[in-house]
Amino acid sequence: MIELDHLTKVFAESSAPAVSDLTLTIARGEICVFVGPSGCGKTTTLKMINRLIEPTAGTIRIDGRAADAVPVHELRRSIGYVIQQIGLFPHRTVRQNIGTVPSLLDWDRTRIDQRVEELAALVALDPAVLDRYPAALSGGQRQRVGVARALAADPPVLLMDEPFGAVDPIVRARLQDELLTLQQRLHKTIALVTHDIDEAIKLGDRVAILSDGGILEQYDTPMRILQHPANAFVAGFLGTDRGIKRLSLIPVSTIDLAPGPVVPRSASHAEVVAVALEYGTDWVVVDDGAATEGWAQVGAVPPEGAVGAAAIPFATRLTTDATLKEALDAIVSSHPPVAPVFDGQRLIGVVTAEAIGRAARS
């Protein structure tokens, strides 16, 4: 647990505070994302937690203990720290980099080696790179090393400053997913800084939205912030697509999935027309009993043959852990205008725009 209590920082070279009277509590095992425009004091706040910046006023308690009650280097060894530029030591191998804090804590060699290999596995880092120097790694690998290094001494608290800011969007999305998976196992108390509201919504158990001068505008779960932005600043920062952002927080499994106009592949033209009419569509889902083959346009079914000949595979297939935002994307970018949700080879149901609308309003 991290408690910030009336935290204020005024830098010597400026008169306006960088952080103003900030009070909030990050519960144990939660990810709190600090988000806001540049200059809103989010990084300053983070750096006050491990005392890279000393507050002008206010106190910080970590698991009940005041941050300034222990020597600063001891405090920092108990807090994992990941920054955007990662800051790996170029003169040390990946193994030595990951083992930094354990060796500062005087662990013995075998224990460090064992821990390093454990961490490499945890962050899905190829053990072959352990004895290379950081210069030989890709951006994604460096980021993994950075996270492994921060976790090395198993600190209860992790500070992450724009941890995925320097990698490309595809790698970023994967690393974000991995962080969430990791967190399900580790239950660290994490304070993470980003300027990307989508990243904040995706990663945060709670999101702290700061405005210029380090003023806390709202601190709540992403869902409640999206539903009830506290003021115009928050609403503006969330953007005009607040409703769609919310969809990214709702899994498709919350919707009662209707199977839709399903016909067997042997169905005749007349049977297809009947099913399509019943559902008010001009297409049907073709199913051969064991697997879902795809869909067929009613007009494309041969008058004298079976529907199977006209079946086309679905362009997108969602799984049950997809979000409504992904479902909406599938709806607007494919024909027929539905999002098919699959469990393996079998269609569980299709999500329609109406169903998404109902879920979003509820």
Binding site: L52, H73, L75, G87, F89, L104, A135, L159
Partner: protein
Amino acid sequence: MTHLAQASSGFFSWEWVASNLDDIWDRTLEHLVLTAIAVCVGMVVSLLLSLVALRYRRTYAPISWIAGVLYTIPSLALFAFFVPITGLSILTAEIGLVSYTLLILVRNIVAGIDGVPPATVESALGMGYTRRGLFFAVELPLALPVIVAGLRIAAVTTIGLVTVTALIGQGGLGFFILRGLNLFYSPIGTTQIVVGTVLSIAIAIAVDVSLVGLERLAMPWARRRAAA
């Protein structure tokens, strides 16, 4: 050999070289010792000055200015100035030689430490390095390429300067050059000038090459990065 000696008998005498091998060896060693002392003491003094300059940024300009002024003093004048105080001694020679190393070494040490990426320093501090640990375990190793570059220049410069200290009774190989100058129009004179000069150059090259080798040994990470 005989053929060569005859062909160049007007300028160079192999006989002199052959009969003075012991002396040449001793002077070469002396040259190396004078250089080693100057560079080592210069390095220690420069490290201390750099620590002060890095810790108290305002002192960097004056420190660098004083080192710069020392560097501009003609070497003859500097040695002459100290003779009445410290005599025709090795101390006089070293005071001068050390002074000339300071500018290059201090500037390179400070530039090397300043060149360490801020993100590396921040993450080191964030993980709980003390200031001293940061300096020795992170900043100094990362500054090493720049520091060694300065060390090479300082060493090569010093090896050349050592010859000048012959004027105050030291000099290593400079001893031969000075004595040769006094016997200038004789083959024995030119021989000594050539021997002193050539060996001094050879030492400079050898020291420079060994420092490069040492640098590569000490910095496997930099070598691989350069190769990448």
